[in-house]
Point group: C2
Chain length 408, copies 2
């Protein structure tokens, strides 16, 4: 039996995925699990989007153009124009979700052996795509006590080597919720120009910013030749299953390279593109997005307040996205804690699933006392989930002490 | 301005794509272009598929499971059972078209620097994916005079080096239409076992076989640990824009590796999966496929007969798919010929677009006197297109002779 490739062996499976069977087993035992572990909003997909799919008038479901259906490109250009960014038709390509846009950004900017700087904690699939492309992730460590804002620019500059090709981040960020300020991004921009780096900004949560303005990388004209926007409709339209994103860049060489990559995978899905066109053509699309922002904003406030009731919990109010990263100093292995919550703990037949923190760090040993909580449920459920979490932490710590005492 | 990566620079754009603007320009001049250049069927997508999409009862369009929606996996397992192949649920994963299945097959079997044997002429995107993954394509040259069947197995064996990891092919094949016999595939199987190679078989045209039985790689139990089926619904269901395919393998290590890859791209498109489930649940789905086969079979016969009328044309009757590869010995550069047909030639306001042959070969210098014709139009149109092609070849040759005489 032939063995699989080394690089795919180097891929770590996601810790969240490893824990899913435990959640399934808990559900089978009759336990209700509040799932705050993944970034799947519970908010209905806009009717205009769904109608655009249902009303598709298609005789032959043929390959759509590799760069995207022209109507999709036009609709997205209109969407960026509405946020004050002017694009031409050759500066935007439709992708199969933000995931493909991200993979394209890595593949067009980096050769195997190159290095990419990424603030940690970061979305774990960044690392997966980097491994598959032979690219080394160099983490810029950020701290919970500092709300995961960037360290001084000199600290980032010290990580640059001759192999560094890009700085990459999301803002507002999954998993930390940090939204970088214009000044932070200006610092990155200056550094990128000084060291001739690409800047890759992943902004699927841009409309979900609750404090200040969500600064897009496209707002820095000095980066026109080197800024790459990775975007997705998944979050702001609650359409994760659509698999539609886009990549935007004003560097024509990069876009020519993107065009070659879109050709070898042929097309992005047709139905979802029709849904997107219908959504962005609907007169009230901004209201739909604003309503989503209002909901998540209120949830963030509720969740943040509730978390203050857990003794020792360390977190800062995140500026955006729908995640809070929390440190529980009394927990030394949050993956074990999540297992405990799913296998051994419940309150009145209910428990909570969150994401262990370590999977979001590239630096070994970091994040083991942290978890990511996604506020993807309604507020009464978030309040209840935090109560259960609080009780779970107490029970977990007690159990650990008992075990330690017995061992002693 | 930062430069793009070397490997994406190494990607050649598709010659077919380069010629598209010429076809657009011809159309703008009022010329009707018979487009026989791409593998896009003209046959309506089955109603059951479209209804499955239109009737989707979705509140939140959430991420679908990374391996595929369970209903899609079950439906596809039933589809393979109908063709006599028994699979378990963990031996099949839904992919974003055959393209992704192919990319996954390369990524899980090969490291950068490894070699893959592929009979040429082959689908050009094989090379594109290989380049992006740092894999070397080693062509097994096949000949038009032999109907593009495989050379003696010793000739293939002579190409194997310590870096060879896989033999890869499509059957019935794009672009040649060859359908390998059971004996040919048995030869490949024995060779793969002898040299411990993976066997990757791309079979989107399996139901479009007109002579003999379309042998699938899954019919060789001795290959269970090393055979990988790459498949797609695009052709047999005329649903190219669905972007749904699958990868099938009975090697659990390989499937575990595939699972990691599906996780980093999250999901395949939801709507198309619902369409596929509906199609495969419809009582008459086999009739829909059989009807498609009948149509293409009849077209193949018509086109093949018509081509016999072109003086000097060399081709063999292809066993399957919907392509014929033809050699026109009087043409020394078929890309120039296609340009001539689009820019400088028409009969009563009509011309023909075919695909130049060289783009389907890895060996430099091959295919320049060959073209691929896709029989994706109705028979009267195919007959008319061949008449125009015949006249075009005469005019092209005359023009070349005139130019040569003037130069002399």
């Amino acid at each position: 039996m032939r063995s699989v490739s080394d690089r795919v062996q180097a891929l770590k499976g996601s810790p969240i995925r490893r824990l899913v069977p435990l959640a399934v087993a808990a559900t089978k035992r009759g336990i209700h699990v509040y799932k705050l572990n993944i970034g799947q909003p519970d908010i209905p997909t806009p009717k205009s989007f769904m109608d655009g799919v249902r009303n598709a008038d298609i005789d032959v479901l043929s390959y759509s153009p590799a760069p995207g259906i022209q109507g999709t490109i036009d609709a997205l250009i209109g969407f960026y124009a509405d946020m004050g960014v002017t694009l031409t038709g050759d500066q935007l390509r439709v992708t199969i979700g933000g995931s493909e846009a991200f993979a394209f950004a890595l593949q067009t900017t980096c050769n195997p052996g190159d290095e990419v700087l990424i603030p940690e904690p970061f979305y774990p699939n960044y690392k997966g795509h980097a491994i598959m492309n032979g690219i080394t992730v160099v983490p810029i460590t950020t701290k919970i006590e500092n709300g995961f804002h960037l360290p001084p620019i000199g600290e980032i500059e010290g990580l640059i080597t001759p192999r560094t090709r890009a700085i990459l981040f999301s803002t507002p960020a999954n998993p930390s919720g940090v939204g970088y300020t214009r000044e932070e991004l200006k610092g990155i921009a200056d550094l990128a120009i000084k060291h001739d780096l690409w800047v890759i900004s992943d902004e699927p949560y841009r409309e979900l910013m609750y404090e200040g303005h969500a600064t897009s990388i496209l707002e820095f004209p000095e980066l026109d030749g080197r800024a790459i926007l990775v975007d997705s409709i998944s979050k702001r339209m609650s359409a994760c299953g659509a698999r539609i994103g886009c990549i935007v860049c004003k560097n024509p060489d990069l876009m020519a390279a993107i065009d070659k990559l879109t050709q070898i995978r042929l097309s992005a899905p047709t139905f979802s593109q029709l849904g997107l066109i219908a959504f962005l053509s609907s007169p009230n699309y901004k209201d739909d997005i604003a309503e989503m922002r209002r909901k998540f904003h209120s949830r963030r406030d509720t969740l943040y307040d509730a978390l203050q009731e857990i003794p020792g919990a360390v977190c800062r109010q995140p500026e955006g996205a729908f995640y809070i990263f929390v440190k529980f100093p009394q927990i030394d292995d949050s993956e074990e804690f999540v297992k405990f919550m799913l296998n051994d703990f419940s309150v009145d037949g209910e428990t909570v699933m969150v994401a262990p923190g370590a999977g979001f760090y590239a630096t070994e040993g970091k994040g083991h006392d942290e978890v990511r909580i996604a506020y993807v449920l309604e507020e009464p459920k978030l309040i209840r989930a935090v109560e259960i979490l609080k009780a779970g932490i107490e029970a977990y710590v007690e159990q650990r002490q008992r075990v330690a005492a017995t061992a002693g």
